[in-house]
Amino acid sequence: MQCEQFEQILEQQDDGALPKPALAHLEACETCRALTADFGAIHDMALELGAEEIAPPERVWISLRNQLEAEGLIHDEQAAPRSASHASRGWWAVFQRPAIAGAFLGLALAAAATVSYLSNSPQTALDSQLTLQQEASSVPSADSVFKEEVLTVGIDSIPELQRQDTAVTNSIRRNLQLVDNLIAICEKSVREQPDNQMAREYLYGAYQQKAELLATAMNRSMTGGLQ
């Protein structure tokens, strides 16, 4: 057996026992013995690396927790309520309105699906779509939810906020109008230039901003602006 053949066997062996002809070559060939010994040293050191753990900065948890709260995935059982309406406070309150919750989720799914579909790598789009299909199997079609809910939802759909005539309400109202205008401009742009990926990304960004703004408005209306 030549060294090149030994190397091919080593490559295909996947760390299992070497066949007898390879073992025989190993006994006779100092170069291949050195190669095998070095691979062993690298592998052993790599195992030590694998066992090593490095702590990320605390901000990773802070940011993660904020995101989990924003998505309504977690709730804090230990927080002492300060009044009877505590249960309906916070971002979680958004999901007590099925229409808004469905719209928000459908919006996020629609945005993610579209951005994934338009990405350069077909495999990436496929992976993302498969993941989204699994996650979306229990919610209504994103497109139908979105058209029925988010596009037509405005500050009028939040009666609690309607009753308050504060600077906060006016700000939310003004910015909702602004975002609705952006959505209209982006939709027009996408209709006129269907191949324009950047316009699509801005459109879905605007949808996402509207959903977040509605969630903020809902949150503020539940708390009356105070906690």
Binding site: E58, N66, R174, M198, A199, Y202, L213, G225, L226
Partner: protein, 311 residues
């Protein structure tokens, strides 16, 4: 609400290479003292005679977490060297209750109406909070101004219309606002800011990660691009303005779909990528300045992007 105060850095010196820790500390101490004196005077002058100032102290260990919830009013956060959090507030109307709670190294401060139907004016509560230099902050408020000075630690801010001013802070700053503006003076660390109509200005920053997005607000960056830093600034309309020096090293990707890209830099073709196909849509600019150690992405739907040389 849409105040557009533009502050321009006056110094021509490169603070990144010249700022010594002792100089910064001395300057901060003077600034804290001066700010404290001015703010104390302002609070005393602005508060009606019958508004009581209440003060509470909380002993803490290293890196406490302070949470503040307010509706309207000023929130000022300063740093000191004591292992203590001091919270002071005034509410002129007396119709707001401030609750404070400490659990170990966490201090929570929340203002709430003492009765229903309280107007925005009556709910106005001004806070003055002093924390250890190394602290984490979580601030939520709707209107009024928020200033944070010389605190090092991770911070999150959630406002509707409150304007935010962060000076000499260092950490991971996450800002979410609707139409409040954000001004960062000499901030370090990482910044994520999301606004709908508020403006964002970063003056003399030493940030290694910037992700700023607004819809109609203006974005201004006048500072250093750190090696391996990532700077992503995006808006729908309005202006995105970045300033650079001839010694800066960055790759740039600037695109405005319906607006202009104004450039004063002389870029080489991007050395870190294959050729960028000319975009059929809008105005684009790609290139490398010096060795392209940082990455800058500027994007606008209909606004103007300006890449301007610092004098």
């Amino acid at each position: 609400m849409n105040a557009t105060i533009y502050l321009r850095a006056a110094s021509t010196a490169r603070t990144r290479y010249l700022r010594a820790t002792s100089i910064a500390r001395t300057r901060n101490a003077v600034r804290i003292g001066a700010l404290g004196a001015v703010m104390a005077g302002f609070i005393l002058a602005a508060s009606p005679a019958h508004a009581d100032r209440i003060e509470k102290h909380f002993p803490v260990q290293n890196k406490p977490k302070i949470t503040v919830r307010n509706s309207s009013g000023r929130i000022q956060v300063k740093a000191w060297t004591k292992n203590e959090v001091m919270v002071a507030w005034t509410n002129a109307s007396g119709k707001t209750v401030v609750e404070t709670e400490q659990a170990g190294n966490r201090v929570e401060v929340a203002a709430r109406a003492s009765e229903g139907g309280v107007s925005a004016d009556d709910s106005k509560t001004d806070f003055e909070i002093t924390v250890p230099v190394e602290s984490e902050l979580n601030v939520r408020t709707d209107s009024g101004n928020v200033t944070v000075d010389s605190v090092h630690g991770d911070m999150t801010f959630d406002t509707v219309g409150a304007n935010l001013q962060l000076s000499d802070v260092d950490g991971y700053m996450v800002v979410k606002t609707i139409d409040g503006s954000l001004v960062c003076n000499r901030c370090s660390g990482k910044l994520e800011a999301n606004s709908i109509s508020g403006n964002v200005q970063m003056i003399e920053p030493t940030l290694d990660s910037v992700r700023v997005q607004t819809s109609s607000g203006n974005i201004m960056f006048d500072g250093s691009f750190l090696s391996r830093g990532i700077y992503i600034m995006k808006n729908f309309s309005g202006t995105i303005e970045v300033h650079f020096s001839s010694s800066d090293s960055f790759d740039v990707n600037a695109t405005s779909l319906k607006g202009d890209v104004i450039n004063q830099a002389t870029f080489k073709p991007d050395t870190h990528g294959s050729s960028h196909p000319a975009s059929k849509w809008g105005h684009s600019l790609f290139g490398t300045m010096n060795d392209g150690h940082a990455k800058v992405e500027l994007s606008s739907f209909s606004g103007t992007i300006k890449i301007l040389k610092r004098d």
